[in-house]
Assembly symmetry: C2
Homo-oligomer: 250 residues x 2
DNA sequence: TCACGTCGTGCCATATTATGGAACGCCATG
DNA sequence: CATGGCGTTCCATAATATGGCACGACGTGA
């Protein structure tokens, strides 16, 4: 369905550049103006896009989309449960804390953030997708997946993002075993240069990983002497959130 | 674009019933199986839907959609700013607190909730859309819109939901004036029977309403003697959140 | 063991539908 | 007053979504 794929591209472009005009979108996506406009009007008809207040020529994403969420977020239980522990972890470390969930076996997506107060801090936009094998949040989740699911992720390839990215399957499996043993995962600039993170998985009542938490910091502030303490704090925060997660309904 | 409208209906149906199978969707929407499957595969290709872990025949919403959000939520500043005040308001009143944002001039949408601990409590699912003229959150926002925008909403009709719904335009304008004067809005079973609420608008740095907060309670616990105090508390909580809202970029 | 019903999947001729170039009206600018 | 850029509309045409049908897999009950 080419038209649907094209429409979703347009929707995502609106989300990224809102509020945005027809012409701008057409240029950006190299599509005819009339095609773009037809799609915008159709999304509008469905309630997914709206015109900006006071400016009928600029489009933005409507609130209807907020009713369409992955099942992990239904009832907002993960958000709600993570809120307080994330704040406390942020305050205890004075570093930014990230909350992510897996998107199937494709990637991990950042869904919430507790920002620290430092002048130099890491930043990732909410909704950002990142690979399992190169991030603290990704590896923390991956460590608790079944062997078959791990094989599946590895089979999709382990691209390198920095010199530190783990790209060899056997090396990755070793690292996952280490994570299972110590409880927390470690990202030493494996994904983005000069960004380190310490992560731990959040489990549901069936002991399946449904998300993860990490402390994200500039490499300049990474202190090996504190690793063990911070690792335990992340694990403890994740455990508290895990206790509030329901079982997965079939 | 019929095909796009149909596809969005299917996507929304998946969100509502996830995890869901092809056949179930086809029955529910009265569409041919092959059509539904083609749409599911296309959404999958675009990363918007995924198969449930361990069950290739059940579909659910993927995390990619989390990157597509209304502009009010960009950076999560409203969520983040509202978090603490909402909790405090909930604790102070022991009632559920709702956070909503306007969807253009169409409706207000519930985006967050701080649940109270009572055995009897109100419940609305996140993402729920409600009319401006019949809810505390809606009227709180509406009160601070321009005259033209208010006219616009009224022109779309003021349907009745209960005996108490305000359906006469002049009566609604009076109520909005009263809200502007006292600072908080009031819903006395105007929308859902036996549910009351006290609301106040959240303003951005340009003094435009970008959302609203309300205390939502069963009518049985509504106490006129406390109205003034709770009203002031909602207004104060909304004001604290407002101070953290950025100006609206053109 | 076999027959049956159910489900997900793949195919393909057909008709519906999306396409995009062109033209129009509007507005701000020089 | 001319110009360029914008959003919008139209329509013949080609591209594409459609959906009935059939196949294979699976689970069930006779």
């Amino acid at each position: 369905m080419k038209s649907l794929l094209k429409s979703l591209e347009i929707l995502e472009a609106v989300a990224e550049h809102q509020p945005v005009s027809v012409g701008e979108l057409a240029k950006r996506l190299s599509l005819p103006k009339s095609t773009v406009q037809r799609v915008l009007l159709t999304f509008h008809e469905a309630g997914w896009l709206r015109q900006r207040r006071g400016d009928m020529t600029r489009w933005e994403v409507g609130a209807r989309i907020l009713g369409v969420r992955p099942p992990e977020l239904n009832g907002g239980r993960l958000y709600a449960a993570a809120r307080e522990p994330m704040r406390e972890l942020r305050d205890a470390t004075n570093e930014t804390v990230h909350l992510s969930i897996p998107d199937g076996l494709n990637s991990v997506v950042l869904i919430d953030r507790a920002d620290c107060q430092q002048n130099v801090r890491t930043f990732s936009p909410l909704g950002d997708a990142a690979p399992f094998h190169a991030t603290a949040n990704g590896m923390a989740i991956m460590a608790w997946l079944s062997d078959q699911e791990i094989d599946d992720i590895i089979a999709r390839g382990l691209p390198a993002f920095t010199e530190q990215t783990i790209t060899r399957p056997d090396r990755l499996r070793e690292e996952l075993a280490a994570i299972r043993q110590r409880g927390y995962s470690l990202n030493m600039s494996n994904y983005r240069p000069a960004i380190c993170a310490i992560g731990a998985a959040i489990m549901d009542a069936d002991n399946r990983p449904v998300g993860s938490l990490c402390i994200s910091m500039p490499q300049s502030r990474y202190d090996p002497a504190r690793l063990s303490q911070w690792g335990q704090q992340v694990v403890e925060a994740a455990r508290r959130i895990s206790l509030m997660q329901p079982a997965d309904p079939i």
